[in-house]
């Protein structure tokens, strides 16, 4: 299992459209279980409802963990996606 921490920078947080894109990205890494955790709870990043339910806003710190499959690659891709959220 690998993990990394990052912060949501997009002023509008993680809303529906980028959440959908993130789900698609996560699903493209077959065999990897990707989770996103805040200080409150941890959710399955392949579930759009779970992601949206975190209510991620600008400035929230999240921890990404990846288990199985191409772990390092998946972690880097998810982190880059979150770091580059623009709107």
């Amino acid at each position: 299992m690998v993990s990394a921490k990052t912060v949501i920078n997009a002023p509008t947080g993680l809303h529906a459209r980028p959440a959908g894109e993130l789900v698609a990205l996560v699903k493209s890494f077959e065999g990897s279980a990707v989770k996103l955790a805040t200080a409150v709870r941890s959710v399955n990043a392949a579930s759009m409802l779970s992601l949206l339910s975190l209510g991620l806003k600008a400035g929230t710190e999240v921890e990404i963990t990846v288990e199985g499959g191409r772990e390092a690659e998946a972690l880097a891709a998810v982190k880059a996606f979150i770091d580059n959220l623009a709107d």
Partner: protein, 464 residues
Amino acid sequence: MVVRGPAYLWNCHPEACPELAEGRERRISFSEAYDQVRRELAAAAVPEPKAAEVFAAHLEILEDPMLKEAVEAELEAGKPELEALDAACSGICAMFSEIDDEYLRARVDDVRDVFGRLRNAMLGISRRHEVPAGSVIVAEELLPSDTAEIDFSSIAGILCRRGSSTSHVCIIAHSKGVPIQLGVDISGISDGDLVSVDDPMVGPSSIESKVRAAGRKLYVNAGSVDDIRAAIAAGADGIGLFRTEFLFLGRSAMPTREEQKALYKEALEACAGKPLTVRLLDVGGDKALPYLPMPREDNPFLGLRGVRFLLAHTELLEAQLGAIADAASAVPGSQVRVMIPMVCTVEEIRRVREMLNQPLELGIMVETPAAVLDAASLAAECDFFSIGTNDLTQYVMAADRGNSAVAGLYDPMSPAVRRAVELAVSAAHASGIPVGICGELASDPRATDFLLSAGLDSLSLSRL
């Protein structure tokens, strides 16, 4: 605008109208209903792109692991099927309702809609609506799948007791010019009663009709090819801002010229011969690309962004300009306009034009104080102006729009920003080039009179 018409009571959802479901027996199990609804949603053929998006989003919610897990957890806890479904629905909705974001809270509608559909399937309820032309639809609430069933071209208006201005029904009604009034006490209205709908967002006082009456062009901002299709279908004169960032973000390598060409070609086809204003990639230190790492900047809004970034990465600029030119020559009769972001100097326009090396229309976003103050020189070098009031306000007022401590200063209608708009318009007209606006101010009905009197040739709205 106020319209009147006979009421048509629309109450199909047990979620909106519990008495419909009362006393009915369950016909099929949750898992049978799940498969049935999945087939229905996947097969839903809807001509309207926005309604098709609704069904695609609902299919995604249905297939979301969280939904099934939540229902199964309730079933395992020993609840009867319908109760388990309702408990799972309330659980998920409660989680969303706590979120401090109006847009996300409105998505609760989609979740309830999907659960309502499952519930109807389990109860064997299906009801088709036949709404007489000219009716006013009266409903407790219209959920997204109801909205997809409504023929907006034949109704006079809509009255709802519940719903928000960001709900599907409201967005689509406005995009079709149909008045809708929310928060109305509908008790006591019967089928056929003459009712009236009062909606200031629709009618002669709306932005759209004012722009049309003044003989100016009505454009729409787009972030995807679907947005373009929806805008053209809704009657837009063209696309005033096509954002291209989505092509570059969320991927591990730069998109090739070929990949970009395919997308621009699709966009031009969707535009059906109307002007498509393609904004060149607009990124900077605050939104960097994974494959082009940028040094950290203390002040990214005054740093390497917009055209400055493009001119520092000419391989990227060359590929994008080449792809746009390729797409334009591949679609006969298309009208492409290339727009440069964050321009401050004449030199920046010259360098981009040199690299474009094609007789395409080339214009600039006017969004820096420098572009306003030297607008006359810039206008002499390009084919159009488009005023980006979001950044322009931020730079003119020296106020970060995200900083609540100075939010009062971030006002696009403040005298200084209005003066900047007027200066840009007069410089453009003195050079004989058209000038439009593509910032959020264009979509603010309180600004329309000012923008038209300032002489803007086009307003590009966030949607029609």
